[in-house]
């Protein structure tokens, strides 16, 4: 099996699904001739043509809005937003329309599309290139949110997302794009949405994470920790988390985003609602501080570190 990085794995998933299903079309800024600013769509314009790999004007809202119309017509568009920080302009289209068209039309129309976007910090890029605002999307019924934590899962989750009947936001942790190489089967395979995975079993504390933080978690914690990769944030797999917490009695949630109102809050709240009688101590969150995301010189002081993670784990183990 070839060793691929996440850029290659995503590229392969897109190419395979485009080959298999002519409803799949890509659109976005610089995804065609340039192959995408991270080269994720490299070679696809040459292979599938400008009708299926559409270079668009610079207009995030228009890109998503156009994709919505394509999806309603019966295609399976894959809009790319160049960086998550520029998706804020498309939130209206996502919240008002993509997430609601099935309901608004009582099933007459639907919106099967995958919004792909690089996300997360640690790449030393300009402002708004390192946002981690997944929580915004997880509060909106009607849209799924998927975050792979490595090449293998990126490919399988993306193939599944591309076949989902409803809109999926597919957040690609930019820091991992070329950091991790994994064996990735050449053929098609899918990983179900809405299911978390236990990456490492442990007995004393459950550590829940996703995306690029997972890599830090795995380095920071010892065998005492059961590590869960959520993979899908919306809808998230509460059962896997709760089953683990019921076993370990302790939990730490690690998110990259600012603490307050992040998706970690939902995990903790769910535990507090449904597994509290098993808890031996506080459920702690490891997160960025509640400040504006800084430029590169301070990004390392902002993002949660392995120390933060292991300190939190040690703290809950005191109970």
């Amino acid at each position: 099996m070839p060793h691929l990085n996440m850029v290659q794995a995503i590229n392969q998933a897109l190419a395979q699904e485009m080959e298999r299903d002519d409803r799949v079309v890509l659109l976005g800024e610089d995804i065609g001739k340039d192959g995408g600013v991270f080269r994720v769509t490299e070679g696809l314009w040459e292979r599938f043509g400008a009708e299926r790999v559409i270079d668009t004007p610079l207009s995030e809202s228009g890109i998503v809005g156009t994709a919505i119309g394509m999806a309603a017509y019966g295609l399976r568009p894959v809009p790319e937003i160049q960086f998550l920080g520029f998706a804020y302009a498309a939130l209206d289209q996502i919240f008002t329309h993509a997430a609601r068209i099935r309901n608004r039309s009582r099933g007459r129309y639907s919106c099967p599309m995958v919004i792909r976007t690089p996300y997360g910090g640690g790449i030393k890029a300009p402002e708004l290139h390192e946002e981690s605002s997944e929580a915004l999307f997880c509060h909106m019924p009607g849209i799924k949110v998927v975050v792979p934590s490595g090449p293998y899962h990126a490919k399988g989750l993306l193939l599944q997302a591309l076949r989902d009947p409803d809109p999926v936001l597919f957040l690609e942790p930019t820091r991992l794009y070329r950091m991790i190489r994994e064996e990735v089967p050449e053929g098609e395979y899918t990983i179900p949405l809405g299911k978390a995975r236990v990456v490492r079993e442990g007995k004393q504390v459950t550590v829940v994470s996703w995306g690029s933080m997972l890599e830090r978690v795995l380095k920071a914690v010892g065998p005492e920790a059961e590590v869960i990769d959520l993979m899908t944030l919306s809808p998230f797999d509460a059962e896997t988390v709760l089953a683990s917490v019921r076993k370990t009695g302790r939990a730490v949630v690690v998110q990259e985003a600012p603490k307050t109102g992040g998706f970690g809050a939902e995990i903790v709240a769910t535990i507090a609602e449904e597994a509290i009688l098993y808890l031996r101590g506080p459920v702690l969150r490891v997160a960025a501080p509640d400040v504006t995301m800084p430029l590169p010189k301070l990004i390392d002081a902002y993002l949660p570190t392995m120390d933060h993670i292991s300190n939190a784990v040690q703290e809950v183990l005191r109970y």
């Binding site: 228009g62 309901n103 608004r104």
Partner: protein, 351 residues
């Protein structure tokens, strides 16, 4: 040449039928008498439907309702220009389109009574749900148009919106995307000159809306929106061009909102009664009556017959609407996604 003129643009205005019912024969579209009469019948239907909506709202049987009074020609003329395979993206004030295309009246009322199920149109109609968030549906039309072209379907897409919508970023991004990708889409603005209390001259400093198209590299034209023949011709030419690969067109129908914005509004607060009165004289229905009369296609007897017929249709629609059982709580959960999440499933079970 240091101060060169790089290009020149003319804003054209199309009108065919004058207020007295005379037509410019050179521009008169080819429409059989039966079609001309059907246009009239649909305009009467729309007005009757609207009047009944207001009555139902007053009785508490409908929610907030935005009537189309004054805009009948702009809506019906556009609808007649459509082919059954074309796709339509309406805003919230074009039920004239729905009526012409045969959308069930009961479902229209059902929607305005606050029941989402009214939005599920018949499967053979390619009409999108009402869009309440002003102007945000324009990009969808562009996307559908690109999809149709990709599928090589001989389809054009028409999207309807008001003058207020022209101020939204989505208007711009959709127009620009359509131009850049040469999408087979026709943008039809119902310029009724008001966006709630904001007159179009405060909505934009542009003297016409049509000229906005020039910024996107395609044609914009103003048509007399109270002239059903001009609207028909303008929209039809644009749809034909779109189907022929000629790209997008913007058609501004200059008309007037003769009533309050909605049943929740009181237009007397912000606009002079004289203005409203002056437009009452330009009523698109009267104008078409005069034209049909000149052609020998209209007389009092015919009018009475149409009105009676239409009244029955509307009555039947209201009755059918009122027979629809109310939605169930479980309906909340059916269409958020194709399949419920575990948490949604649990919530459905609760209380």
């Amino acid at each position: 040449m240091p101060q060169e003129i790089l290009a020149t643009f003319n804003v054209r205005r199309l009108s065919i039928l004058d207020p007295d019912g005379n037509v410019d024969e050179a521009l008169m579209p080819e429409l059989p008498d039966a079609e001309l009469r059907r246009m009239y019948e649909m305009m009467v239907l729309l007005r009757t439907y609207d009047n009944r909506a207001l009555a139902l709202q007053r009785e508490g049987r409908l929610g907030t309702y935005p009537p189309s009074f004054g805009q009948e020609a702009a809506q019906i003329g556009s609808a007649f220009a459509l082919k059954p395979t074309d796709w339509v993206f309406p805003s919230f004030r074009e039920v004239g389109i729905h009526l012409t295309l045969g959308y069930p009246i009961a479902q229209l009322y059902q929607y305005w009574a606050g029941d989402e199920r009214g939005q599920r149109g018949p499967d053979h109609l390619n009409i999108f749900p009402f869009c309440v968030s002003v102007g945000t549906h324009l990009p969808h039309a562009v996307g559908a148009a690109l999809a149709a072209r990709y599928r090589k379907d001989p389809v054009a897409v028409a999207v309807f919106f008001g003058d207020g919508a022209t101020s939204k970023g989505d208007f711009h991004e959709a127009f620009n995307m359509a131009g850049a990708l040469n999408a087979p889409v026709v943008f039809v603005c119902q310029n009724n000159q008001w966006a709630i209390s904001i007159p179009v001259r405060e909505q934009t400093a542009a003297a016409t809306l049509a000229q906005k198209a020039f910024g996107y590299g395609f044609e914009g034209i103003q048509v007399d929106g109270n002239d059903v023949l001009a609207v028909y011709r303008g929209v039809k030419e644009a749809l034909d061009r779109a189907r022929d690969g000629g790209g997008p067109t913007f058609v501004e129908c200059l008309t007037y909102r003769m009533a309050d914005h909605t049943t929740a509004d009181d237009a007397a607060r912000y606009r002079p009664p004289e203005e409203v009165a002056s437009w009452r004289e330009r009523d698109p229905l009267l104008r078409l009556e005069r034209f049909l009369a000149r052609r020998g296609l209209w007389d009092e007897a015919y009018r009475n017959q149409v009105q009676e017929q239409v009244q029955q249709t509307v009555d039947a629609g209201v009755r059918a609407m009122e027979e629809i059982p109310p939605p169930e709580r479980s309906d909340l959960f059916t269409y958020t996604a194709a399949a419920p999440t575990p948490r949604q499933a649990a919530q459905l079970e609760e209380s």
